[in-house]
Every structure is written in C-alpha cells, then in structure tokens.
Assembly symmetry: C4
Homo-oligomer: 233 residues x 4
Amino acid sequence: MSAESPHTLVTLANRMLTREAVLDAFGHVSMRHPTDPGRFFLTRSIAPELATEADVLEYDLSGEPVSSTGLAQYSERIIHSVLYRMRPDVNAICHHHSPSMMPFCLADLKLRVVTQLGAAIGRQVPMWDQREGFGATNHLVTREAEALSLAMCLGDSNMVLMKRHGATVVGGSMRELVFRSIYGCRDAELQLRALTFGDISVFTDEEIALAGKFPEATLARAWEYWRSRLPNA
Amino acid sequence: MSAESPHTLVTLANRMLTREAVLDAFGHVSMRHPTDPGRFFLTRSIAPELATEADVLEYDLSGEPVSSTGLAQYSERIIHSVLYRMRPDVNAICHHHSPSMMPFCLADLKLRVVTQLGAAIGRQVPMWDQREGFGATNHLVTREAEALSLAMCLGDSNMVLMKRHGATVVGGSMRELVFRSIYGCRDAELQLRALTFGDISVFTDEEIALAGKFPEATLARAWEYWRSRLPNA
Amino acid sequence: MSAESPHTLVTLANRMLTREAVLDAFGHVSMRHPTDPGRFFLTRSIAPELATEADVLEYDLSGEPVSSTGLAQYSERIIHSVLYRMRPDVNAICHHHSPSMMPFCLADLKLRVVTQLGAAIGRQVPMWDQREGFGATNHLVTREAEALSLAMCLGDSNMVLMKRHGATVVGGSMRELVFRSIYGCRDAELQLRALTFGDISVFTDEEIALAGKFPEATLARAWEYWRSRLPNA
Amino acid sequence: MSAESPHTLVTLANRMLTREAVLDAFGHVSMRHPTDPGRFFLTRSIAPELATEADVLEYDLSGEPVSSTGLAQYSERIIHSVLYRMRPDVNAICHHHSPSMMPFCLADLKLRVVTQLGAAIGRQVPMWDQREGFGATNHLVTREAEALSLAMCLGDSNMVLMKRHGATVVGGSMRELVFRSIYGCRDAELQLRALTFGDISVFTDEEIALAGKFPEATLARAWEYWRSRLPNA
C-alpha cells in the first residue's frame, strides 16, 4: 500500500463513510498510531465530511489530546480510547448511526450475514443497551464506565450494535474498517428488504468463516472505488 | 456565531431544508425580527430553494407585509403570524410536508423519539385535524380561526402534526429550528423503517428530557454540515 | 406567462418529468397545437431527456407527422392522437411508467388522494386492462381500437391507470399536466408508504373538489422550481 | 450501429451498469470476441466503473488471459468462460449483486415479469444454490465444477439467480445484455414494491413471448439514454 499518513487516512475515511451513508453530521472514525500503540488519531468535533488533515488530533488512551488545544472534542471519544486499550488487535474504529443499521437497533431483529461481502461483520454481532446498565441517559457514551461496558459487550467481535443508538465497528486496519463498515450496512439493507417478505436464507457460521477473510487486494479494490466517488475525487 | 442577517438566515434555511428533503416546491420557513418581536421575516410566495435575500419580506403579526408590495404572498402565512403571537418563546417556524413525516399524518401511527438527535422534537407531538373543527376544506390553513386552532393544538410543544397535510415546527432560534426539522424527519424515517418489523424500542420521557437539550456547538456542527451540502456551497 | 413555443414547452416538460422520476428512457409527453386543435406536438422516438427542439414534430390527429420524415416514431403515439380527438378540453398528455404509480397497476390497490397537491389527479382514476379487451398482447398500445378503449375508460377523468403498464395523464395546459403528473406520483408515493402501516385517512370527494383547483400562480411556482432543478438549468 | 470496439463496449457497459445500480465495487461484464468465438473480453480485477480500455483483457475459454500479464484477475471469471463455452448464442455476460435482485436471492420469492420492458428476462429465471452441490463455501464461483453447475441451471434461459449471492445475465449482444440487466432489475424493484401489498398481476408466458423481443431501435434508445447519464458523458 501507499505510504499514506494517518492524517490522510482519517480524513479520507471520514469522507468515504459519509459519501456511502454510514456517517452524516455525526459519527466518527479513528485509527491507532502506526508506531505508538498508546496513541490514536481522531478529528476534533466536526461533521466528518468537513474535516481536513489539520483537524486530525493525536490522543492518548485516556481519551485526551496529546497536545493541549482549545478545540472542541467529540463527547463520545471515550469509545475509541477504551476500545484501543481493551483490543490490542484493533487499529481502526468507527462509531456510526447509519439508517441501514438503525432498524436492528430499534426492532426485535437479529443482524445476520446474507452475502459474501457482508461476512466482513463476522459471526456474532452483540447488542448493547445503555439503559440496562445505566438507567435513563441521554444515550451518549461519555463516561468510562459506559465505554467499558460497551467494550465488554463487543468482546472479540468485529462490531457491536447499540440499542436506540447505532453501531461501533472495529478493524485491523483502516481499509478493513471502512470495508466492514460499508458492507456491513449494505448487508443490513439487503436483509431488511428481504425480511419484508418473510423468512430468509442466511450464511452459516462455517460459511461466514470461509467468506469473511478478505485479501488486501479486495479491500484495496473497494477502497479505490469509494475514493473515486468522493466529491472532487 | 456570525452576525448573519435575518435575510441571510431565512434564505439559508430555505435552501438547507430543501436540500435535506424537508421542503420541496412548497412549505416555508420564517424567523422573528431579532429586535422587534412584533415583526417576522418570510419570503414572498416562491419555491423556497429559489428565494434570494431580495425575496425576504418583513411582516407584522397580522400576517401582512410591513411595506406594501405587489408580490404574491404565501396563502398560509397566517400560521406564522398567529404562532409568533401565541408563543413569545418561538423565534423561528417551519411549515412542511416532508415525505418522512407524511405517513404519520395518514396512517394510525404515533410519532415517537427513537434516537438521541430525534429527541429534538420533544416529548409530545400533538396531531391537529382541520376536518374536525372546520369540516370539508381544501386543507390549506388560510384563516385566522384555523391558525388559532392549530396553535392551541400545538400548545407548548415543539412540533404539531397536521392530518393529511404535514407538520409545523417551532424553535427558539433558526439553528434550533433547522436542527429540529431535519432530525425530526430523520427520526421519523428511522422509526418507519423499523416499524415494518413489529414493535420497536423508544425513548422514555425522562430520556427525551435528558437528550433533547442540545448545546449551541451541536446545532452549529450540523448547520455547517448542511451548509456545506448546498449546491454552490 | 412567457411566450414559450410548443417546441420549448415539450422539451422542457420531457426534461422536468425525467428529472422528477416520472419518465425514464421511455414514456412521452405531448401538447396540442395552440391555434390548430387538429394538430399536436410530440418528439420523434427518443429518450425524453435527450430530445432537443429539433426532435419535436407536428402530428395530425390520425397520429401521423404532418411533414413526411424518415425519423422513427413512438409506437404508442396513437394514445395521444385519439385522446386529443376524444377530449377537446385536453391540451397536453403524458404517458408514463413511473415507479411511484406502478404498484397501483400491479397490486389490488386503489389510488386515492391524500394531500392537497395530490388532489390534482381528481376524484376518479379509472383502471384500464388491455388484457380484458384484447387478450394476450405485448402490452403496447399501438392500435386505434386499443387507444379508443383506453380513452373510453379515461372518460372525463384527469388520469387513467393501465394494468401492468403505467398511467396516462391529461391536462388543460402543459403546466397543469406537469403539475398533475408529478404531484400525482408524489401522492401515490406517500400513500404507499402509509399503507404499509394499515388503513389511512384520505380526502373526501368534497375535499378533492375544493383542493383540486390550482391557481396559475401555484402551477407556475412549481414549474419554476422543477425548471431550476434541471441539469444545466 | 457504430463500429465500437469491444474495449469501448466493455468499459461503457461497466460504467452504465454501475450508474444504474446493477454493479458497484464488485460484479463484472464481458463480451465475446466479435470474430473469434473462442475468445472473450473482460477487465482485470478492478471496480467496474474505474476500468479504462487499457484494463480490458482478452481471455480464452479456459478463463486465462491470452497474453500473460502480472495483473490481478477476477476470481469468478470462470463464470464467463464456461458460459461462453456452453452457450454459443451468448455474446455478452453480466454477473452482479444488485440490491434490486437480492431479495429474490434471500427470501422465498419467485421473480416474475410485471412490465413490457421487464419481459427482457424471459419466461423462466431458474435459481441456483451453490450450497446444494458444493456444501459450505465462501459463495464465490471460482471452480470449473461450480461454473458448470451454474451453467446447467441456467440452461437456455436469459438469466439465473444465485441463492445468497446475486444473478448472472446473458445476451446476444452487449446492448441486449445491458438492457436485460437494467430492466430486469427495474422489473424486480417494481414487483417488490407491489408485493408489499399482497398478490400482484403478472405477465403470462404468452405475453412474455410477445413483449420480450425488442427491436434494435429500442435497445439503442435506452443505450443512448444511459450513456447520457454517465458522469462526464
């Protein structure tokens, strides 16, 4: 792959995920520092599509910017810092509220895998409900205890759904994360459309295991496609 | 915030709300005069997206332009003048027929809050039916008695649904109004999609109260995002 | 109104109706000659959006071009010529297969009026089934007997649905026709979305009569909006 | 028709089918060599919309490039080579996973013909399930035995659905293939929308036979329309 800097990757991911309807004015995506696992990159509080590389800040795993700044921060950045602490295998994280995923967060529906590309989400997508552990809240994950609870629920899965809220997706690399986030949403859309007409046929665990390992070339092919679709690509 | 004039804010809101599918060739948005509470700003009768600052007129609370003009006026401008009279706390109003909200105006469905951002609509969204008080009409709210009836139904809520017609939304500022109008529609869309699959989980009144107060920074973040999405932004 | 020529009006209508998802590569729109009621204007066979004024031909009421031409003609132009013969009050016609209207042509659903603007379609929208009178066909209306049967079914209504095929809409002017075609489709969309959730509230015949008469200013407002949305407007 | 080269036709088809939502970052389209039936043209592995004429390679019917190349190949190119071997009448092939067709691959729904243009898919669209013959797989068709099984299931039809995967469409020419792929998806969309409301009226076999033969002018009219819709057309 090219020697793209974390600043470039984070802003590209922000724009791609917005263009592909995963993010809108809200939601955020981060990546771990490539050489210092105790640091990660995330933008200041801003609509993801509008972020430039100058908006990408470096954070430590307590969730605070490494360099003091007067800029506003995402109130939910604790999701990222806690997950980077708990999951050493994770190098990129996206928290979103895509309309494709929300029906699974509202109705009594189980997210399954229905296509080869959708297998990127993996065999188990657990559901976390902030209300269960924390009672009545504004549904923002801003406290360490909430983020830890979310991380426990995620376990070693690739994605966790959040009741009445959205989803948090993790990846081994930014390309894998973007691929998983987008094709997770696409797979969700397809099964929603099909479920309108009754029972559907889904991938077995064995098939998910066989289909869900994507070579770098597959991730790159999709990445270049989404990149080409950016405004002013 | 910047020192944007009412004329700028009204035309920006018109364009944003059209771009985000709240308005189309019809519907309208107004704001109260910042220093004279007995006046408000609204465009002449025109498709909202096409209005320029020269199309923004100043009205008094009887619903008539302050300066005589030969220009055609919105037949439903009485909605705005009556609501500004009845609700001193309201500084901006949008009347729309968004496809996101119409199913709630046609089917026997209750609009709920299902996301943090959707809490902007508040705990109670009453339903007004012109037919109940006024019999067979063309469904345009053009008489003071109709507007008063609508205002009574709205009460101190943030939004009122209108049977077989649309919705009227109010806000303390233009930014709050635009945020509430758009995220109200987004929340409606999400619950419609989910309701296809049976019962859904919704916010409690306590959660709506906790989630529904948005800091100015949140409103501004969304405002800048929608502004960036305008044609020729 | 401006002194737009029939050639300009026909090409504008073609482009607007495509932009608003009434037409695609197929479907067609015509208008009667403003001074010679025995003539009408329609393009040669071409995707509507691609037609220029040079593609607009003059036809007589037998459905043949007034000037001989080597250009291919729409195979269904007989719909237009027969309707102009049968309905002296009609000055513009659109035949389309909009996805908004097709569910009413396939499922056992009755098209109703659910909004003020949708009242443009009028109180009765009859359903015509080519199969009933003509047995197994390719579903193109290419014979005079088929077009006459369609016209009989239309009667004095504003629109007729065609089973497994689409819709034919008529208007007193091009602006009225375009307004009726687009808001007919919008109204159909809204009721489809609402019908997913059970019974819906619809306009009464009296309300349709009250709402369905639109002043020229209303038609012009929508016309200018749609015109502004054309590519290279 | 113009003397367009296979390289031009393949890249145009790739772009049109992406623009019309048949392909996305995945899926592929090929055409047989116009003078050497033992060869066909397909791009290297790349998102279809991004392919230039330089990306179009010549393959033999074993599925290998005629000239050795270091470029990555589509892992499912065996679908094309086997179908060109088995179906001498076929000169163009598209394999896709369009969201319009996927509900038929997931739910217990039979694809029917509901419009004149949709008759392009023909009377029988068989369903192939890789799981039946090959057990648990990653759902990619990469082995000759799998492609042969798919071809057997297709038989002399125009299209075969693939359970939990997508569709493979064949045509006598590139124009016919593109027309069939797109209007097949459009017809699928229409029936899905209508099926939400219960039983629907569909074309009989006799009507499909009457409607499904399209003159070259019809294919060309649609082709020019889709071409005009390409970015930078």
